[in-house]
């Protein structure tokens, strides 16, 4: 006789949408950390310059932006005299966000061999990407602070300064991470079936940068287009990343367009994206091994 039906594991075809097994994920937390370590170490070991690359990309990009957007195109920088500081702020943040999306979007494709052979909560992989990108972000934040210091003390530019909003920094980072995670998961879930989407992502992220206030301040958009092309202003304002970047800039540089309303809106949208991402990811996770 069977006795009580107490099973530890039950596998069935359907699973409710909201089944996120947090206990499972917690059990695999060592694995998450090991993945982060693996990504970091393998990156380090495979390049000559190693972690120096973390500095080179933002530096170069800042220089180019300063020249092209600040110098050539004369796009305003919200009243900050050293445009490099302005651009680097946007770049540092945007790098993290873009990395989160692009790396998460290929997580299934890049790891088919592991996923096809062993079980672990699939979400551990995108989570590990978010965390390992944080390390890179941390390094680039240091670079940013150093650059700020350089322009402040050595170049004597006092047009920027910290404000109390700097305390919102953790929230800013969290919002970025979750948006990147959510969008990345949606894309990666869809690319298991429709591969062209992967190309769209790279392209899309680039476009998205121009639709966010990375290389120009929101204030100048409102000023220039507020009258005739309000739809443009609204589009940019409705972009959840806009609030993130503006909040960051007002915190660290004292110049930005901030409103609690915008921040609240951004937070709400972030959570919606996250939930959507987790749902689609879950739905696809169990069957993607068959379709990829």
């Amino acid at each position: 006789m069977e006795g009580s039906e107490s099973w530890d594991l039950i596998l069935t075809p359907q699973r409710s949408f909201f089944d996120i097994n947090l206990k499972d994920i917690w059990r695999y937390r060592d694995l998450l950390w090991l993945f982060v370590r693996r990504d970091f170490v393998s990156f380090y070991k495979q390049t000559i310059l190693g972690p120096l690359w973390f500095f080179i990309q933002p530096l170069f990009t800042t220089v180019i932006y300063t020249f092209v957007f600040g110098g050539l195109a004369s796009i305003p920088t919200d009243g900050i005299k050293s445009p490099a500081v302005f651009y680097m702020a946007g770049i540092t943040l945007w790098n993290y966000f873009a990395d989160c999306i692009t790396k998460t979007s290929t997580v299934f494709k890049d790891n088919t061999n592991i996923f096809g052979k062993v079980y672990f909560p699939r979400i551990v992989m995108p989570l590990s990407l978010i965390v390992s990108n944080l390390i890179r972000f941390g390094v680039q934040m240091l670079l940013f602070l150093v650059t700020m210091g350089f322009f402040y003390w050595i170049r004597g530019d006092h047009s920027f300064y910290f404000t109390a909003y700097v305390l919102l920094f953790p929230l800013v980072v969290l919002l970025m991470a979750l948006q990147g995670l959510g969008l990345g998961m949606i894309v990666s879930a869809m690319t298991t079936r429709y591969r062209d989407l992967a190309f769209l992502v790279l392209f899309g992220v680039q476009l998205l940068m121009y639709a966010t206030t990375v290389i120009y301040p929101l204030s100048s958009i409102i000023q220039k287009f507020g009258g005739k092309h309000v739809w443009l202003v609204r589009t940019i304002e409705y972009n959840p990343m806009t609030a993130v970047i503006e909040t960051f800039r007002i915190g660290f540089l004292g110049h930005g367009t901030f409103s609690w309303g915008m921040l609240a809106y951004s937070t709400t949208v972030t959570f919606i994206i996250l939930i959507l991402g987790v749902l689609t990811f879950n739905k696809v996770e169990r069957s993607f091994v068959d379709t990829i």
Binding site: E2, G3, S6, W7, D8, L9, I10, L11, T12, P13, R15, R27, Y28, D30, L31, L34, F35, R37, R38, V41, S42, K45, Q46, N113, I114, F115, G116, K117, V118, Y119, F120, R193, Y194, R286, S287, V289, D290, T291
Partner: protein, 421 residues
């Protein structure tokens, strides 16, 4: 004895072909049907996974209506031809893929070894990979710390622990990978054909470890392998799958017997399509298993002399061709290979005879292989379900043979008894 795994009405369907532009519309159709509460219009009933037949629909049932119970502590050998559904079954149990219908229920943790070295990263050292691989397989870091010494000891690569794995030889790689997996600590362990790794010594070690895991540690083990000898040693229970369905679910001996004797419809003459091979230098057209009077024998009584006659057509003049005949027993052990000394052949038809008058093999079915080669280069290698079978009937042995399956060879040695003075 409690039930460790209970499988009810388990089925798995796979979609064949490309997933290109057709599937967006299909997905919408499917979703729409599901929303309306109707069946998925694309899962047709009845197609089984027979690779030789191109089916009508492009959905294939890799597993169909599997119902079984595995008791705790069982060591189950899952056998079957390629394509029978063994790996799919294991994948579902391992949560790598989901069932299409039905359910699987289990008590205890399931740890799977479907491939050695899953997740190994070439740039990381051996030690780092032990942690990574162990964690992927489900171990906690503390657990790995505790077992590190045992794992390293088992693998035998202690000297190289701090070297990146990309520098390891393939043997070392595999030993390390298996060592990690061998120390998994779960109630249910699933192993898929991974014992065919490493050299003979290591394979024996792995087998020993698996035996230890299932008998002394009392864990439930599910084991897929083509190595019938290993399966027999390790398992007490057998599951024979064919085309996605259960053929035998019972003692291992029974499953093995049915598997081995599948297809033995008593043929003794094998014909080969000459038209397909017209372009070859030489090829075998017919193989007959008969006694010395030329009678076709699908089952040879023990003690009767027998021979294999091959008809060969030679298309071009060949110098130094060797004709060979191999016999392999039901545990996939090669028993004997015979061949002639290299001989020149002019174009024409030939009959090559391999005669056995002395050695008496034990009863059972042996697979025959035929081969033609010149200077070590193979012209034809024929492994096409040809068999010679020896029955239980004992003939002409003067009472020297009593049991038909008493060992591999039944002949007696020449023996003397002398009283010491």
């Amino acid at each position: 004895m409690s039930v460790a795994i209970k499988v009810e009405n388990l089925s798995k369907a796979y979609q064949l072909g490309e997933f290109g532009t057709g599937t967006v519309s299909r997905d919408i159709e499917r979703w729409f049907a599901r929303v309306r509460g109707k069946d998925d219009p694309f899962l047709k009933i009845g197609e089984t996974n027979d690779r030789a037949v191109k089916g009508g629909s492009d959905v294939v049932w890799s597993l169909k209506d599997i119902n079984l119970e595995i008791k705790q502590g069982d060591a189950v050998g899952i056998i079957g031809r390629n394509g029978a559904g063994k790996s799919t079954f294991l994948k579902i149990l391992s949560r790598v893929t989901a069932p299409t219908t039905g359910s699987v229920k289990a008590r205890g943790r399931i740890a799977s070894l479907l491939e050695v070295g899953t997740g190994f990263h070439p740039e990381l050292t051996g030690k780092e990979n032990i942690y990574l691989n162990g964690a992927i397989l489900g171990m906690r870091k503390k657990e790995i710390d505790r077992k590190m010494d045992q794992i390293v000891d088992f693998s035998g690569v202690e000297r190289y622990l701090d070297t990146p794995v990309k520098r390891y030889s393939s043997g070392m790689y595999v030993r390390l990978a298996f060592a990690v997996a061998a120390h998994l600590d779960s109630e249910i362990l699933i192993v898929d054909e991974v014992l065919a790794v490493g050299d003979a010594e290591f394979q024996a070690k792995c087998l020993g470890k698996m035996k230890d895991v299932s008998s002394t540690q009392g864990r439930t083990v599910l084991f897929v392998s083509h190595n019938m000898a290993a399966i027999q040693k390790l398992c007490n229970s057998g599951l024979l799958l064919n085309k996605g369905q259960i053929v035998v679910d019972g003692p291992i001996r029974k499953a093995l017997d049915v598997y081995m004797n599948d297809g033995g419809r008593g043929s003794a003459e094998y014909l080969f399509d000459a038209d397909k091979l017209q372009s070859d230098l030489a090829f075998v057209t017919r193989v007959r298993v008969e006694d010395l009077e030329g009678r076709l024998l699908s089952e040879i009584p023990i003690g009767r002399p027998w021979r294999v006659r091959m008809s060969i057509r030679v298309n071009e003049a060949i110098r130094g061709m060797v004709v060979g005949l191999g016999m392999i027993n039901n545990l996939e052990v090669p028993v004997r290979t015979s061949w002639n000394l290299p001989r020149d052949f002019q174009p024409g038809n030939y009959t090559v005879t391999f005669e056995e008058q002395h050695v008496v093999f034990s009863s059972g079915r042996y697979r025959l292989l035929a081969g033609l080669s010149v200077k070590g280069q193979s012209i034809q290698y024929l492994d096409d379900n040809m068999f010679v079978s020896f029955s239980d009937v004992i003939e002409n042995m003067n009472g020297s043979v009593v049991k038909s399956d008493n060992g591999v060879i039944l002949n007696q040695m020449k023996m003397f008894v002398e009283e010491d003075i």
